[in-house]
């Protein structure tokens, strides 16, 4: 088993965090995993992204040229990475920030969801968009189980942050349900 995915968006949208959570979940399921943030020159900028590689084997490169998946939370993110996604790979896009027309790839599995709105609707907070998208991504890619994800969340939301945990889980589940609903409905 080998899966690599890029999570990308603006700084502050929490793409590094959901990468972290996914990596944690993969570890709990006894996979090999690497999490690699992007880094640039010593200059401040808005973009943020990370690459997570999950494998049943020891992982070589923590960087990927042709990811199996891309989770894009912003326009620049989509524009920068969509062409890299492997044929037949997975593309999860936050249409709260990205117009669906900007997706040019036809040879991948796409899933568009207005994650920020969903987040607000479901949790009363825009900030859980990343979890919604993560839920969708996980359900579709099945690189880890949803249960594993929830367990992983527990590692991150401890002490003062604990009150966020239920919200996070809710958002995650919603994202997942969104996908399953679609899957069931569409076929």
């Amino acid at each position: 088993m080998y899966y690599d995915v890029i999570f990308s968006g603006f700084g502050g949208q929490g793409v590094l965090l959901i990468g972290d959570i996914l990596a944690q979940a993969a570890m709990l399921e006894n996979r090999h995993v690497t999490w690699m943030p992007s880094y640039g020159v010593e200059i401040r900028g808005g973009a943020a992204s990370c690459t997570v590689v999950i494998s049943s084997q020891k992982i070589g490169s923590p960087i990927t040229e042709e990811p199996c998946g891309l989770l894009a939370m912003s326009k620049p993110a989509l524009l920068k990475f969509q062409h890299k996604v492997k044929k037949g790979g997975l593309l999860v896009v936050n249409t709260s920030f990205v117009e669906p027309e900007m997706i040019t790839r036809e040879d991948v599995i796409k899933i568009c969801l207005p994650a920020s709105e969903i987040s607000y609707r479901e949790t009363g907070d825009y900030k859980m968009a990343n979890a919604v998208l993560l839920g969708a991504f996980v359900s579709l890619s099945r690189v880890v189980t949803l249960q594993g994800m929830e367990e992983a969340l527990g590692v991150f939301f401890k002490e003062e942050k604990q009150k966020l945990l239920p919200l996070m889980i809710k958002a995650l589940q919603y994202g997942s349900e969104f996908v399953c609903a679609g899957m069931n409905g569409d076929g």
Partner: protein, 361 residues
């Protein structure tokens, strides 16, 4: 059972230092290694350690010299330009036979450079950037686990040989997270009768690098040299992943070896018989191991994230008749597994006797 956690490479390294009993950190900010001082500034006070943000890298290395001379396990960390500024101090530490750890999370050079991953400081690390006949003990991790393990090892070797040690890493390894087992070996801090702690109960003693009597400096140089030879005999660490009847052997170190190993897997999946050798200690360099392995394979491909620095060491080690090509990507370029694979295929096709040429990206 050992604890498993996902940590950033820099944090794993910092935890490794603490596991090794290091309680003194002196350093000056520089990207991409700031996670180390930032983490330790919070962590060391928790274990009654001391964190000092020094006024410069020169102050850092000399505080380290002082702390080491006082007998403590202590460290500093920096990157490119900061490491260059430490060269005088490193030469003094080597000359005075003081242990201590220096971490280089490299950046691009020369000059101000960029903070992307690069292996351009290999020569500086292994050939001695400071003046005089000396070497650092240089360990080059290629995983977060090794950022932890080799840090512990580095402290151990530094003390054993009374010589400064260096972790040669880069932005990829410093920033990435991987699961690791925090499974420190039992901590046994060595006796240091040579340390200066005040002359209570013994004669006053000295730590110095200058010897004035006739012939004493020559003797001292040979004494140091003998230590380096002993390191070469006893402390080489190397990782190999070999096959029968290899068509080509790949040699790489540090983060780059990760991409290379991916390429090796790719090549094997295409039926090419490829071997893999990774120096874990880049000083002492695994000359003997490489010599033996290369005896069985005519072609070697060195892959480096610089313009070809370890290449020299490889060529000095090869079994006579064996030749080494180079795939080099300096300045933040990362040799992708695909690119490496293409080179492997070229090499296999090329027939006998490759030329020692440079393959640029």
């Amino acid at each position: 059972m050992s604890e498993r956690k996902i940590l950033r490479g820099c944090v794993a390294l910092a935890e490794g230092a603490i596991a090794a009993g290091c309680r003194f950190y002196f350093g000056y900010p520089i990207t991409p290694q700031n996670d180390i001082p930032e983490y330790l500034s919070a962590r060391l006070p928790q274990v009654e350690g001391v964190f000092i943000q020094a006024e410069s890298e020169i102050a850092s290395i000399n505080m380290l010299l002082g702390a080491a001379a006082a007998g403590a396990r202590a460290m500093t960390s920096s990157s490119g330009p900061g490491i260059s500024l430490m060269q005088e101090g490193l030469s003094y530490m080597a000359g005075s036979e003081l242990p201590g750890l220096v971490v280089n999370i490299t950046r691009i050079g020369p000059g101000l450079g960029g903070i992307a991953a690069s292996q351009g400081d290999y020569r500086q690390a292994t050939r001695g950037g400071g003046h005089g006949d000396y070497h650092l003990i240089v360990l080059a991790p290629n995983s977060v686990q090794e950022m932890y393990d080799l840090t512990i090892k580095a402290f151990y070797l530094a003390d054993k040989y009374r010589n400064p040690a260096m972790i040669l890493s880069d932005a990829i390894l410093g920033q990435m997270k991987e699961p690791l087992s925090l499974d420190p070996p039992p901590l046994v801090l060595p006796e240091k009768p040579w340390a200066l702690t005040g002359a209570r109960g013994r004669k006053a003693q000295l730590i110095k690098s200058l010897y004035l009597a006739d012939g004493e400096m020559e003797q001292h140089n040979w004494h140091l040299h003998e230590k380096y030879r002993r390191l070469e005999r006893e402390e080489v660490l190397v990782e190999t992943d070999l096959e029968e009847k290899m068509e080509v052997l790949l040699v790489a170190f540090g983060s780059c070896s990760r991409m290379v190993h991916s390429a090796v897997e790719l090549a094997r999946s295409r039926g090419i018989r490829v071997g893999f050798l990774r120096p874990v200690t880049v000083y002492p360099f695994p000359r003997q191991a490489l010599r033996e392995v290369s005896r069985e394979v005519g072609k070697v491909l060195v892959v480096e994230m610089n313009t070809g620095q370890m290449w020299d060491d490889v060529r000095l080690s090869l079994y006579p008749g064996c030749r080494a090509g180079l795939l080099a990507r300096p300045g933040g370029g990362i040799p992708a597994p695909g690119q490496i694979l293409a080179e492997i295929e070229n090499l296999v096709k090329a027939g006998d006797g490759i030329d020692e040429s440079v393959y640029q990206a």
